[in-house]
Symmetry: C2
Subunit: 656 residues, 2 copies
């Protein structure tokens, strides 16, 4: 059975890999752009939507006129953050994640804030990207819309499985979706721009029908919003649009994955990524404004633009498929980042140490499973609705931007490299700008989901610190301070017996092997059986004394515990081992037919001083004995030679 | 926490009772009649209903004219079975349950059939009696009808709780419901008969309204049933009415509960019981015929009669309450009988031995809990509907009647007591009659639920035999056949270490205590740590060799298993103990922060030859050490006196 399970495991997850294969696969610039930028570039699939959704809900189709200015501001911010992170690339050749930079330069608490924000962000990256990708599919095939949650769940489970196999097969294969998406976006924006410049009529295919009638009504009948209300509304739109900037930090985190000269290559790639993202985001917002696009709950901006520009032909479907693919790839980056961060936090003793262990395939298996589980939960809770998930998203990202850049300011002050003043200023301006945006994000999105993040990040920090406290205290407590402790102790062994069986005799042989002082204890539940037991024991005559302990209340445990306590009263400090035969039946249901006495005895003595409980497994119903001494001593002496001969004959595996 | 739990347990279930208090409380005839007859006599609350339901469904109100003749036939059968069991009373002074009588005289298989039938019957006694009792209440208060399942469940849980407390408080208290019911039935039948004989007009209170309109319609529009169809219909009515006979065997099972002369007293009481049951059943059927009563799904025959005869006043409510009380008492008898039979079967190794163990309060706790659980399940499945449950009921009872009486025939042939031939004939006629009824029951009720019983009884028998086979083989297998097996073995101890900590040093102290040959094993997951480990080990210099075992695939278990197998290759037959420190944190969530290495190692070696795994619990976060040697040996030597002094000071309990 065990071998069937491991064979199945090998088929699904692949054969185990030795630790040596952990060497990094170094990426060239083109591959790195594809692998590390998918998260950032794919944001154009949902960022413009968010601006239009928020503004459209308040001022109807008039929203469309604000989308390009807001996008331009965001792109300005993006360029600033890009320049700022370019400096991090050169300062942290081994990868400057927000947690590392904030912890090293600002201290533990800022580090933990960044860590907690990053953990939530990675989870949201999966949930948002997958639901965004599925939205691209359901926009093309509205009939699939009712199955949104199912398709999302399946995608997440598939991603987790692939990642549990490990990342050996990455690189080239991962470039395809990103470049396909880039090509399709270029075609969309190119054709769109051409149609616009050449004054072509709009392809008014289905757009008129797609506009939410309630929005049209609002547009027509509502009084215009002005003054502070308008400013607040535009800030909200800006905050939501900042979802476009998620993923910007990926390249600075992954400098060590680049081919030499790593830092220079990473900086160049970062530049390209920012340029592409900026161009696509502005392009989409421009076309959205030009075509008067208003997304609905059932169709995304990209899909509507695709319909307008391509008229619904094969190019339209290609756009939707590549959008789906790049978003799945974006989710995939979180499957690499989350377990790695969890592993770093575990090594720093802020998370359970199991998260630091690499599995058979060198992936951090526990982290991958945890991420998939929480992302699935989110998708189920929010029914796979991207527009409900995105408001939670960018807050944590901007908190990380801020802490990371603030950390860089301290970094430059400490290192005082050439030109450190200007570098510190650049990072400082970036930190202030993103810090301001963080506040805007939290305030404007607080009621639409921001409060969840505001509540969860402190909660995560409390848990991380509690875990750290436990590990620190634990390490302190088990620290060995004595000199040479290895003196054998005086030792009494107690064997509870309920009859003269092979299990009993096996336990007694073991007991006499580990100590010269062995006492057999018989718990008397029914007086009528005692006489027979004592007679049989005397007839056996093995030189081990039998103590009869009455149990007026029919419990086995209580009299045994009291017997051992009394023994320890007489000889304090005495070490006592209780050797219990443990019946291990062959079939699962047979377990129900035997009392779990060995387990109960273990539990009963767990908190008793200086008592060790040893269970001697006695396997029932197996064709051969695994513990020969349980038969009788003759067997061992006679059969050792035979067994040795057989063993030399090649049959070295003897597991059942 | 443990002490809060046991205090709560003592309040609900009572303090533990010593085994001596198991002596039987002997009952006089009056009390015995109340305690042992409640099951039988209470059947009148649902038996007449069943006849009318079956016939009424087919021939409408015409059914009423058949109810008295059918009842008369059943009473004839009842008297025959009563006389037959009177002989069992004298033959089995220690209680002649069907299982015992069938097994002793007919063999194992008939015994098991009787046992399986009895187990199902006891469960159905609880389900039918409780739902019948609740039907008496909902007949009086129709507003409670939607809560039927809830009230039934509550009653069963309450009964189980009372029975887990043990049966000390029985006797007198249990007489009240039975005698109150007998009095109310006498009043009902007396007033009803007086009204009839004095030619009074019927009290047509609500009866006209209560008749199911669909039945009236059937009566009016349907063609009369004749010939074979009528015979079959009457047989079905007869089969359902036989529910009246359930519980008849209770007195012959319980002879040992009577005061001396037990057998004579039991026989007299049996006579009274049969007489009362016969009179009540005939009386109810007579009045039902006279008043043209047709039960509905919401009102029982007894309730309708109560309305007719008493006109709905306090006497009516008294009738309903006493009906409920006597039926609860009837269910209670199953709570004594089922666990006792399960205990007997467990002692005969046909059921799990846990069912033979008496709990704190001397009750067979596991049997009581199992019975309550299955009865609850039945009540939920059948929504507490007596009329749906009864068809399952009498089949098993009649199978038991038949096997028990057939067993008595063999008994008389074997003992050849005075007048054995006549006695054998009487039991034989009883066996044939009840055997015939069993067949009628099975055939006529097969489609309405009888098939469930026909399927479940063989299934139970298969399970019982499988359990028996396991226990028999197990006893055979562990039977000790050697001579004097107590020779100490050669013994190597392996201690997996991952650093020099108190837990490690504790395990090493224990290891050197139980063997002279100790090897510490370090599993190398990361080569960078090995050098440091080896240096620290050499500096420690405790005279235990350290083996470094590389683990290229990062598993802890596999290299350890291979190391031990290699060791055994060199010295076959060698006994190996693996001593593992087991970290036991204080709080539940802290368990998640530590690998369960000790557990994994135990599991990995469970099926490996001649290996014993001993976990040394290391308690983290406790104010004091429970295993002093884990600190360092100095501690033990210095503090033993202090500890002994403290211990003498009265603090002998040291559990956390």
């Amino acid at each position: 059975m065990s071998s069937t399970y491991s064979r199945l495991k090998h088929v699904v997850f692949g054969r185990p890999l030795p630790s040596e294969r952990l060497e990094h696969e170094r990426l060239n610039k083109k591959t790195a752009l594809a692998v590390l930028s998918s998260d950032a570039i794919s944001s154009v699939a949902y960022a413009t939507d968010q601006i239009l959704f928020v503004l459209g809900g308040a001022i109807g189709m008039a929203a469309v006129s604000y989308v390009l200015p807001i996008s331009a501001v965001i792109v300005g911010l993006l360029v600033l953050v890009g320049l700022s992170y370019r400096q991090t690339v050169f300062a942290y050749p081994n990868g400057g994640g927000s947690y590392t930079v904030a912890k090293e330069n600002l201290g533990e608490m800022p580090g933990l804030i960044a860590g907690a924000a990053l953990l939530t962000d990675y989870i949201l990256t999966v949930a948002v990207s997958i639901s965004g990708g599925v939205a691209a599919i359901t926009s093309a095939y509205p009939g699939l819309a009712p199955h949104t949650v199912g398709i999302c769940s399946l995608s997440i489970i598939l991603l987790a499985t692939v990642n549990l196999r490990g990342v050996r097969e990455s690189g080239a294969a991962f470039s395809v979706p990103t470049y396909a998406f880039i090509v399709m976006m270029l075609v969309l924006l190119g054709v769109g721009a051409y149609r616009y410049s050449s004054g072509h009529e709009l392809v008014q295919l289905t757009a008129a029908l797609k506009v939410d009638p309630s929005l049209a009504h609002k547009h027509a009948g509502m009084s215009p919003i002005t003054g502070f209300a308008l400013v607040y509304l535009l800030l909200r739109g800006f905050a939501e649009g900042c979802a476009a900037m998620t993923g910007t930090e990926a390249i600075s985190n992954g400098v060590m994955a680049f081919k030499a000269p790593a830092q220079k290559n990473a900086a160049t790639t970062l530049g390209w990524m920012v340029a592409i993202l900026a161009a696509f985001f502005l392009g989409v917002s421009f076309l959205a404004q030009h075509y008067q696009v208003m997304p609905t709950t059932s169709e995304t901006v990209l899909s509507i633009l695709g319909h307008h520009v391509f008229g619904g032909g094969p190019l339209y479907y290609a756009l939707q498929y590549t959008t789906f693919a790049v978003l799945v790839l974006a989710a995939n980056t979180a499957f690499a980042d989350f377990p790695r961060l969890a592993g770093i936090l575990a090594n720093d003793r802020f998370m359970p140490r199991q998260l630091a262990a690499r599995g058979d395939r060198l992936a951090f298996s526990n982290g991958i499973i945890a991420l998939a589980a929480v992302a699935l939960l989110l998708v189920w809770m929010f029914k796979g609705d991207t527009n409900a998930l995105v408001p939670l998203y960018a807050i944590g990202v901007f908190v990380c931007f801020t802490l990371s850049q603030a950390g860089m300011v301290v970094h430059w002050q400490t290192t005082r490299d050439a030109g450190w003043v200007w570098k510190a200023w650049l990072n400082g301006i970036g930190a202030i700008a993103t810090g301001l945006v963080s506040v805007i994000q939290l305030v404007t999105k607080f009621t639409t989901g921001g409060w969840i993040i505001a509540a969860i990040i402190p909660l995560i920090i409390i848990v991380l610190r509690k875990i750290h406290k436990h590990y620190t205290e634990f390490a302190e407590e088990i620290k060995f301070s004595g000199q040479s402790p290895i003196n054998p102790l005086h030792h009494t062994v107690i064997v509870p017996v309920n009859g003269i069986t092979k299990a009993t005799s096996g336990a007694l042989v073991y007991a006499t092997t580990i100590s010269d002082e062995v006492i057999a204890v018989y718990i008397e539940v029914d007086k009528r059986d005692t006489q027979r037991m004592m007679e049989e024991w005397d007839a056996w005559d093995i030189g081990v004394p039998l103590e009869v302990v009455p149990s007026p209340y029919r419990s086995i445990l209580k009299p045994l515990v009291e017997f051992v306590e009394n023994l320890r009263m007489v000889t304090p400090g005495e070490l006592v081992t209780i050797v219990v035969p443990e019946i291990v039946p062959k079939k699962w249901w047979e377990h129900l037919l035997h009392n779990k006495t060995a387990l109960y005895i273990r539990t009963a003595f767990l908190f008793k001083p200086n008592v060790v409980v040893t269970a001697i497994p006695y396997l029932v119903g197996h064709a051969y004995r695994l513990r020969e001494w349980m038969e009788h001593d003759q067997y061992i002496e006679e059969d050792i030679d035979a067994e040795a001969a057989e063993r030399k004959g090649g049959d070295s595996s003897s597991a059942a």
